[in-house]
């Protein structure tokens, strides 16, 4: 990639059939933008739409289970709901929101003007959006996926004409996940190269903000976790459609191979989901306690340790499959080990808040909620590492309670902390704090009402993934409570959406640095200019922006530096003229369009659609390659 020193003449800028787009505002600009900030907004908004869809699926599940022998859904519909709920929340909500926030804030936090590959960045977004639409289109094209978000073989891999899982749902599922994997892999590569090559002068690795660090760790996890699951899904697709025998026990195939490949992906995936949340609270807690993060290096290395250990624990999802005592002991021990770096982080966060001047903003409430709820989820996780206990809990609601405490109580609360923290930077206006508090308390109470009783239901024997239960098992009251709780969560999400929409035009104007922040994103205007930094900053310490604002007197008290001191506003008056930014492009969209077309071709096994998809894909790739990078 080279810098074009002078803008080439217009005639050279026309590539293929499409003229190089120039709009920077309006609808077209969102289709062709390569600005990491716009792409970040697109990711988060798209993921929130899928969050609502996945939430509706959850509500339908809860309505069905409100009382014994529910009649809201048929068994088949229920299977579709829990499959799509899990798949949506993991692949279309958790990952895209983290990638979206990372997209927006990683370059700002490391003092870069853009990511390493702006067009690949946009391509990754389009793949996620189109992959999501592809998977949801299955509802109208013969039934949604219904084999669970884990898609265990041989159920999912039995040949299409065998009568197990009839319909195209599982094929949409395998192809959809392979598509989303392409998007995740490109995003991961982009994040890694950005974090390694694009840091501003002085931004050594151990000065990077923790959120950026965690995005770097999950980028590596994504890079290596996606291929095994791609292979597993490919094998399932071939088994179902082309008669291969990978998972057919009758022919000597081993369904457990699928579980191994899936969980070698699946467990790192859990950390891909939770580490960004840990990164977010490691940003918010210091800011709202007015103290530096307690033990920065330990927090970073614990995150890395979790990333490494995450590769050695996958079989704890398979304790009841008969792996043998040696294997389950080893995996049980490795699973307990993960509690160490996780516990270390929890104490670091507590140490950060301890003795600080705490401001209980909505973002801080969500962050504190995260610590408490995630700790509960972590503790029930350690319970699962005890194999005999896990054997009792497997496939009961206890497991559902556990991972919702980790992924909702952990990830979702942290993401909301991030929304309230960064919204002023993105839109220049504050989210309303009163609605915010309502949002937090309804979500916190609704969440606990929904998921705490599930621990007991699970221990009392209620199985997962079962569409109804009989009367008289003693599960009625708690199931009603759970359903009520889930609707309180839905109300809370509605409050947030109203808050986000209303505050965008009516919120209090934020200013550049509403929270008295510590990291570089608060040193520029809100919303940031297209080029981010008029002058590329040079940092001299961790929390550099904080040290530009404050110094300490002899007794360690904070003393504000006079405004304009140090090198503040060195760039004042710079209008960004002459900063060369990459031009927008259609081709990420065109290239990404080719992929779902190929997906439809695979699902319906139609050569003509495949040909069309290949033509679109190749056209996109060639035009992209010929188009100048900037």
């Amino acid at each position: 990639m080279t810098t074009v020193e002078k803008a080439p003449p217009v005639s050279q800028r026309e590539v293929g059939l499409l003229r190089r787009p120039r709009a920077t505002t309006g609808f077209a600009s969102w289709l062709t933008t390569v600005d990491h900030k716009k792409i970040g907004i697109l990711y988060v908004c798209t993921a929130l739409v899928f969050f609502v869809l996945g939430g509706v699926e959850a509500l339908l599940i809860r309505l069905q289970l409100f009382g014994p022998n529910g009649t809201v859904l048929t068994a088949g519909q229920y299977n579709q709901m829990f499959t799509m709920h899990g798949t949506t929340m993991v692949f279309l909500v958790g990952m895209p929101i983290a990638i979206g926030l990372g997209n927006y804030f990683v370059p700002l936090q490391i003092g870069a003007r853009d990511v390493a590959f702006p067009r690949i960045n946009m391509f990754g977004y389009w793949v996620v959006l189109l992959g999501g639409i592809f998977m949801y289109s299955s509802f109208f094209l013969g039934g949604a996926p219904d084999g669970g978000w884990f898609g265990y073989t041989p159920l999912t891999s039995a040949p299409l004409d065998s009568g197990f899982l009839p319909g195209r749902g599982p094929d949409f599922w395998t192809m959809g996940l392979i598509l989303l994997g392409v998007g995740s892999t490109t995003s991961a590569i982009n994040f890694i190269v950005t974090c390694i090559n694009m840091r501003c002068p002085g931004m050594s690795l151990l000065r990077m903000p923790v959120f950026t660090w965690m995005m770097l760790v999950i980028a590596f996890l994504t890079l290596f976790a996606i291929p095994p699951v791609t292979v597993a899904l490919t094998m399932v697709f071939f088994d179902r459609n082309f008669g291969t025998l990978f998972f057919d026990p009758a022919a000597g195939g081993d369904p457990l191979l699928y579980q191994h490949l899936f969980w070698i992906f699946g467990h790192p995936e859990v950390y891909i989901l939770i580490l960004p949340g840990m990164g977010i609270v490691s940003e918010t807690l210091p800011v709202f306690s007015r103290k530096p993060l307690f033990g920065y290096a330990i927090v970073v290395f614990s995150g890395i340790a979790i990333g490494f250990l995450g590769w050695g624990v996958w079989a704890h999802h398979m304790f009841v499959t008969g792996l043998g005592p040696v294997a389950i002991s080893a995996f049980g021990l490795a699973t307990m080990l993960i509690a160490i770096p996780t516990g270390v982080k929890i104490f670091n966060w507590l140490g950060t808040v301890w003795g600080g001047s705490v401001r209980l903003t909505t973002s801080m409430l969500f962050s504190l909620g995260f610590i408490a709820m995630f700790t509960i989820g972590g503790l029930s996780g350690v319970m699962h590492s005890v194999v005999p206990a896990d054997t009792q809990q497997t496939d009961t609601y206890f497991v559902v309670a556990h991972f919702h405490y980790v992924l909702f109580g952990g990830l979702i609360l942290a993401l909301f902390a991030g929304f309230y923290y960064w919204y002023p930077k993105v839109f220049g206006r504050m989210l309303d704090e009163r609605m915010g508090k309502l949002n937090f308390w309804t979500m916190f109470i609704g969440f606990n009402l929904t998921f705490a009783p599930m621990h007991f239901l699970g221990l009392w024997g209620q199985p997962r993934r079962t569409y109804r239960y009989d009367e008289g098992l003693g599960w009625e009251t708690l199931n009603q409570l759970v359903t009520v709780g889930s609707f309180i969560i839905a109300f809370s999400v509605l409050v947030f959406i109203v808050n986000a929409v209303v505050s965008k035009s009516r919120g209090q104007v934020a200013g550049d640095d509403p929270w008295d922040g510590r990291t570089l994103e608060w040193s520029i205007s809100s919303p940031p200019p297209e080029y981010n930094f008029a002058e590329v900053p040079e940092v001299h310490s961790r929390d550099d922006f904080w040290h530009r604002k404050y110094t300490e007197d002899d007794e360690g008290r904070l003393v504000p530096l006079p405004s304009g001191g140090a090198e503040a506003h060195a760039a004042a008056g710079h209008d960004g003229h002459g900063i060369h930014l990459p031009s927008p492009s259609y081709f990420p969209l065109v290239t990404a369009l080719g992929l779902p077309i190929l997906g439809y071709a695979a699902v319906f096994q139609n050569v003509w659609i495949a040909l069309l998809g290949a033509v679109v894909l190749l056209y996109g790739i060639y035009a992209w390659a010929i188009e100048p990078a900037d």
Partner: protein
């Protein structure tokens, strides 16, 4: 980003800022730009692809000797033939190296010669693979015959698809060179294609060893 012409992995010397022109948002060598962005990206992709092949190879190893009926590897393999096509594929890497050396010297005639030779060697390998597949199929092995058929065809098939992608890439570079679109500053894009090509070759060494050279179960 400054135009970086050296091909080794040593850090590029910092380029002096151009007066009156601010650096672009992307590609500026950061504190540790030992590898340029595109090259680092390709290395990362290849690392990821290692696990893709690794998973298929694991499946193949797991299922070795488990076929219940239909032809077995021992009845089908023609090891001298496959060794010959494998040798041709490995030799194509030499062509790739010579092509890169030529484009770095700005010698487009030699570059086109070697890049075309590399592509043709690759195509010969693919032709050999197609011949082998048809032979096996004639002798009664297909995807759904037994586990050997499933794991063999899918593993070698995906490798063949990788080679085909590579051939398309090399031919595209050849075409760009004929149109004069491959200036000296694009030498790096040839190098990146080379990384991919060598990777596909190295993976074949592993696959060839695992499938053909390791003693077959029961021997």
């Amino acid at each position: 980003m400054a135009i970086i012409e050296q091909t080794d992995l040593t850090p590029a010397p910092p380029s002096p800022p151009e007066p009156g022109h601010d650096h672009g948002g992307h590609g500026g060598p950061g504190p540790s730009a030992a590898l340029t962005n595109p090259k680092l990206a390709m290395w990362l992709f290849l690392a990821s692809d290692c696990l893709f092949f690794g998973a298929f190879i694991s499946a193949y190893l797991l299922y070795r000797g488990r076929e219940q009926d239909g032809p077995t590897p021992r009845e089908l393999f023609d090891i001298p033939f496959t060794s010959a096509t494998s040798f041709i594929l490995l030799m194509s890497s030499l062509g790739m190296v010579l092509a890169l050396a030529a484009i770095q010297r700005g010698d487009h005639r030699r570059f086109r010669l070697w890049i075309m030779a590399t592509a043709l060697f690759g195509a010969t390998f693919v032709a050999g693979q197609i011949f082998e597949f048809t032979e096996f199929s004639r002798k009664g092995l297909s995807l759904d015959t037994n586990l050997f058929g499933s794991s063999f065809f899918v593993l070698t098939g995906f490798h063949g698809a990788h080679v085909c992608m590579g051939i398309l890439w090399l031919l595209s570079l050849w075409g760009m060179s004929t149109q004069g679109r491959l200036g000296p500053e694009k030498a790096e894009s040839v190098e990146i294609a080379g990384l991919y090509w060598h990777f596909v070759d190295v993976v074949w060494i592993v696959i060839f060893t695992v499938i053909y050279l390791m003693p077959q179960p029961g021997t």
